[in-house]
Each structure stands twice: as C-alpha cells, then as structure tokens.
Subunit: 435 residues, 2 copies
C-alpha cells in the first residue's frame, strides 16, 4: 500500500486530535483512501508535558524547518494558529512543493489571497475545511455539494464560545460578564476572549465563506463586525417576549449586484432551525437558487471534531496525489477567470427590522417625541412595549420596527439619544428572518 | 473551454430540474468546473406537453439507445426511476464506457452491488448523491467530509411525504387518512403512497447509507421496515404529553460487531434537533467517533433541489474526467478490500424504550394483569398514564418502558392481547434518544 507522508506543525489541541485519529483509525482511513497516511514529523516549540497521545519520540522536533524541508513530506499541516510564523512556514512549504492543510482562519482571512495564489502557481493544494465550522463539512459542501447553485444567502452561527455564552444568558437570565467568567473557567473561552465575543473570529470565518460562495476576493476589512459584550439580560427578557432568540450571526446576502457581509448579535424567530442551535454548537444555513435551503449543524470546535476535518483534507489531498489530480477543485471553488469583482455593501446600506430599547424618563410625551423622530426618518413601528419604571425612574420602551434603513436608524438614534428625557444610550439589535 | 456531453434518460420532474439548472446557470457551473456541461440528448417515451423548460427540439428523442450508444456522450443521467428499463439502460451505458449519474434509490437498494461492480470493472463512475436526501449533500459528506470517522449511528428523516403527514397530524390533530388525501391533492404524496408511508422508500435510502457508512454490502432485505399508516391522533396526543414527537426515522447503529438497521415510526424527545425537522424537509443526524454529532438538513425531494444534487454529481464526474482521475473516490466510499462483512441484526435483538397503548376494560385489576405479564418478561415500566374511559367503555392505558428487548416485548404483547380485559391490539411505538 502506498504511503503519504504528513508533517505536522503545532502540537496543540487540534494537532493532538489529528494525531489521535491517525494513530487510532489507520484501518478506517486506509480502507477508504487505499493508502497509508504516515505521520513523519511533529514540530512544536514546546514538547514538554504529556499530551495523552502516544507518539514515537523520534518524530518530535522543535525545528519546523526539519518538517518543511524534508523532501519525503508530502503534506504539511499547519496548526500553530496566528499570523507569524504560521504564514512564513506555509509559504515556505508551498515553495518546497508541499501541499498544505490548515485550520488557521485568522491567517486565511488576512493573507488567504497570497497563500492561495502561491499554491496555485506552485501547483499544490491548500485544504482548510477545519478553518470554518470545526467538524462540520461545510466548506466542502459549498464548493462541491452545492456547486450547481448561485448562493443567495449564508446565515451562520460560527463561534461556539459566543453561542455558549448567549445560550446560558438566555436560559439562565445571567449577565454577560458572569457567564464569560464561567466559560473561561470551563475552558470554553480563552483568557483573552476578544476574538470570540467581539465577533472577530466569526468575521474571519465569514470572510473565507464569502470567497467560496460568491467568488469574491478575500477581504476581511469589508465585513462589518460587532460582538455580544453589550447584550444584557434585560434585552434578552424582552426579545423572548417578542418571540425571538439572540444569536451572534454571520450573515451574507447576494442580490446579484452587491453583497452584504456582517457579523453581529441578531434576533431571529424562536421557531427557526438556527434558534435551536445551542451551547457550543455551530450551524450554517445556506440559501441557493436551486436547492432552496440547506442547514449543516455540528461541533464548531474541539480537539477531535476539528481533527476530523483536518484528516478529511488529508484524505482529499491524498486522493489527488494518488490519482495525479492536484488542482482538481480550485482552492476557493472558482476557476481564476470565474472570480467576480462584486462589491461588498457598507453597513449603512442595510435594510432590515430593528429592536430598540430606549431608556426614557417616565413623563408624558416621551413616546411621542421618540416616535416623532423615528417617523421623520421614515422608520415605522411594528410593535411597542412599555413597562413600569425601573429603580432609577427610567422606563424601558421596547420597540420592533418594520424594515428600515441602517443609515436612517443611526441618524434617528443619535437625535433620540440627545433628548433630555432619554437617560441612556439606546440599545439597537438587528433582526433577521431569512426564511 | 472543454465540453462534457450529458445524455439524459427520463424527462420528468427531476429531469426538468437538472435541465433548468444547466440552461439557467451555465456561467455558474463553468466558473467552478472550468468546462461546459452540454446537454446533448434528452430521451423520454412521452415528449408531449409543455414542461416549461425551453429545450432545443433536436436534442429530444424517444429512443434511449440513441443516448446510450452515442460515442460523444460522456455521462448518462438516469432519471426514469423504477427497476426496468432503468437497470438495463444503466448497465448498457456502463458497458459502453459511459459514466452514470442516477437518483434511483429503489434500483440501487435492489441492484446496487451489480451496478457498482460493473462500473468498477469498466472504470467508470456512478454518482448517486440525488438518491438520498434530495438536495442535501449527505452522501458526499459521509464519503468525504466525515471520512476520518468510524460512523456509530445514523438517524434520518429520509421521506418527505411521511414527514409532511406526521407534521400535519401532530400540529392539527387530524387522522392519517385525511392528511394523506390532502397531501395527495397537493402533490406531496403519490396516487399509490405505499413506498412513502410504509417506510419502503426510507428503507431504500437507509440501505444505500449503510453501505457508505459501514462498508457492508447492499442488502435491502436486512432492513426492518414499518410505516406510519397505523399512527392515530390519540397516540400523538399522548406522546406529546410525555414530551415526545413522532417521526418516521431511519435508524442504524454500529457497535463494532453488528449493525442495527430499521425504519419505523419513532418517538424522539421534543427538544432534539430532529424533532424540529417538519413538513417535507429531510435531515440526517450522523454520529462519528471523531466528529461527535453532525446534522444535515434540507429539502429531501423536489424538482430543483434534486436537480441540484444531480448537477453536483455531473460536476464531480466532470472534474474527474478533466483530470484523468476517474475512480478517485470509490462509489460507495470504501476500497474493495475495505468492505467489511458485518452482520445486520434482526429486529428481535433490538433493545430500546417503548411506548405502549393498551385498550383495556375499565375494571379493577386490569393494570395489575398487564404489568404482571410485562414484569414476567423483564420489562420494567418508566411511567404510566391512565385516562377516563372512552365512548365504548375501553380505557387507554399508556405506558413508557425502560430499555427492554424487542423479543420480550413482542412475546408479552401477544400474551396481553389475549387477555379478555384487553379489547384491541396494543399499540407499540419504539422510542429513540441518540444524544
């Protein structure tokens, strides 16, 4: 049986997952691939400590160069994460004619074009199924399974940490900060949770999906990004009463002219499939002109699920090596000539429904002032809900609008927030119903 | 740009969907495939009537032989359905060195081994993504995306008609027969609904999935099959009170020794993701040793969704033709040497929880007699619910058991049904909670 040699850079959580699968299931992989995936090298700066994966010491090294420059290595797996030295190692591996498999969404969202173009010139593959949606085979599904479709929309829960926090806040009525601390203690959130809770990680992933779905260049800066750190239990209570659930949603839509691309806390109908995606699970809801709607659901992170996605790429690249079919599917799913230069819309162009919570003084005429300003900006109200005063004498007025323009919404809220009867910055949460 | 010639057999619903996609989206497909998919022939015995798809009359023929024997045709698409002449045409196309794409689950479940073996000997591809789950790319996901996993379980809602009927019965409390008639009027169910409502279509699909997931030979007869025609509104009312929803579920489990394979009406917890799969939608919940759990959801039938799956196979085969990589992935996902001869269990070996509804006379001691027989057969009761008498004086006693053996359950129910205080055959519905 033929052997395909793998060199691993980065022996962290996902690296251990990949290694475990290769060690535990060689028969499973061989019976499907018809060849052996042999782990020839594992490189990591820190090789101390027992990772619970019994590997032969002779394959361990602290020198990435030994892996990248070994002529016998067919595929280099980059699981270091971050920008450098990951980028340098990947480009060097490509230069050396190695195929690359990576889970590094931050790197691909920032420097994907450079990496994919280097790989294409050198005639090697770059697999990155593990970079979005952990173990869910969603990149492959868009590039191959839904290849017959013009994708018109993507709606994704792409960050497990944020989804875990919002799930706990919703189910237990607890504040963001407390749930975050618990998530950190349980290992669901990192010490610096910024990427996860501020939507940056989800925006990295959406950036990659945009390129695959629409054939647009990789452009992280064009994705509007907001997080969940300002969501309060009070807003969650109100939105539940209105029949919504809150999710950190990565959204894109293509109207054939320009593309919406945004990540923010979003209210979705409680009976939507995505509303039932809880805890650290991820899901991607895809709309295509032929298929209608498809949803893929599963673990968006974790040692073994993400390892499963890495190994699926190893098998995929391995199949191309065995058949001499490298480049069979373009890395981003589109032929170079097929990449379209469609514009990404700015958030100001968005038109959607909105949830507002105003903190107003409990005086006659307040609602009239607020709704007057909204009316002036052509924002019409779908439903409104006013409750008794809170401890400080402020009254939360909660409002759902009909579809309105983001630019008008922002203009009217700045006016409203300057009213002397308004005591706090108005809370704005966008609503989405894609069905 | 290169051209790949397609010959279509069967210009029905799915054939029209495939044709529409090829005519409407050539640019989309070319930008991804890097070649043109040209529809060279459409064969159907009946070419009368406007199908709403504007095709050039010169490609229409009533003679399938013209398609199969045309040396310029690269891929023959079989969308006739049924056993003959579909099987004969496919085998002849393979003999002529054509690749084949089909949506014909009944044929593959009965004669798949013969077809795949002929294709393998001839060195041509057989694509069948459209045969299971309509537009959902689930065959590709098991064969490629989850290739690193030992699959331990499959839980599928694989028949849209049955799911539509159960959804309406659940939401509206209506009887099976009335909902079926409505579904037939709306075109959701066929004039002869046997395959859909008796579980046969779902069993065909499960048969195909078993071969892909576990590498076992195709063996439709080994799949235990029961339908939904005996489900009553009364049972649906009771199971809702117990926190369950009812689905026609295709279930398989692999314990490493033997495989469970069964299709029957199944009670599942109301908060399970699959419980929210309603109307004519399909979904497959997959458990793998590395990935954990993944669920794929989408339209399980229909002109355009199934057409989308057919075209995904055309692109897949097209990519292999262009790269000279035919046979890159084995048709059923496993190398010939990798096919394992694992045993399929009989339904008697099943161990699960059960729902029973006894129709008993309203007399003292009835519950004691019934539970005595259950106890004798080692079946222990988890909860029991007895309501006031119905119009005929019979009392429904509803029971949920702990895990019990099917053989013991069947033995005890035959005893119970012979009691003079039991007025009607006891209703048995199996319960499943895979989480």
């Amino acid at each position: 049986m033929k052997t395909i040699n793998i060199g691993l850079l980065g022996f962290g959580t996902v690296g251990c997952g990949m290694t475990k699968i290769l060690l535990q299931s060689p028969g499973v992989i061989e019976s499907r691939l018809g060849a052996t995936l042999a782990l020839k090298w594992i490189a990591d700066l820190d090789l101390e400590g027992d990772r619970g994966v019994p590997v032969d010491e002779s394959i361990l090294t602290t020198d990435a160069g030994e892996v990248i420059n070994d002529p016998e290595v067919d595929i280099v797996v980059e699981l270091i994460g971050g920008y450098e030295p990951a980028k340098r190692f990947i480009l060097k591996a490509i230069e050396n004619g190695k195929h690359v498999v990576t889970a590094n969404k931050a790197l691909l969202a920032a420097h994907g074009d450079e990496i994919f173009s280097a790989a294409s010139q050198k005639g090697v593959e770059v697999g990155f199924e593990a970079s979005v949606g952990g173990g869910i085979p969603l990149i492959r599904s868009i590039k191959e399974g839904l290849v017959a479709n013009r994708i018109s929309g993507l709606f994704g829960i792409l960050n497990g940490t944020a989804n875990y926090i919002l799930t706990k806040m919703t189910d237990e009525g607890r504040p963001f900060s407390g749930v975050l601390k618990e998530a950190q203690a349980l290992g669901y959130a990192e010490a610096d949770p910024t990427f996860d809770v501020e939507g940056i990680d989800a925006a990295h992933k959406l950036t990659i999906l945009l390129a695959i779905a629409y054939g647009v260049p990789i452009d992280f800066e064009a994705v509007y990004t907001e997080g969940i750190s300002k969501i309060t239990p009070l807003d969650i209570k109100f939105m539940k009463e209105f029949g919504y659930r809150i999710k950190l949603l990565a959204i894109s839509k293509d109207d054939g002219q320009a593309i919406e691309a945004r990540v923010h806390a979003t209210l979705i109908p409680e009976d939507a499939m995505l509303a039932n995606v809880n805890e650290a699970y991820n899901a991607l809801y895809i709309k295509g002109d032929a298929v209608g709607s498809v949803m893929l659901y599963g673990p968006g992170a974790g040692m073994m699920p993400t390892g499963s996605a890495v190994v699926s790429d190893l098998v995929d690249v391995g199949r191309n090596i065995l058949k001499g079919a490298v480049g069979r599917v373009p890395a981003l799913g589109h032929q170079p000539a097929g990449v379209e230069g469609r514009r990404i819309k700015s958030i100001d162009e968005l038109e959607t429904e909105y949830y507002f919570r105003f903190s107003a003084e409990d005086r006659p005429g307040v609602l009239s002032k607020v709704s007057g300003i909204l009316g002036k900006h052509q924002i019409s109200i779908k439903s409104v809900h006013q409750q008794g005063r809170d401890l400080l004498g402020a009254v939360p007025i909660v409002m759902i609008t009909h579809e309105a323009k983001e630019a008008s919404v922002q203009a009217s809220l700045s006016e409203i927030d300057q009213l002397d009867v308004v005591k706090d910055k108005t809370v704005l949460i966008r609503i989405e119903d894609w069905r």
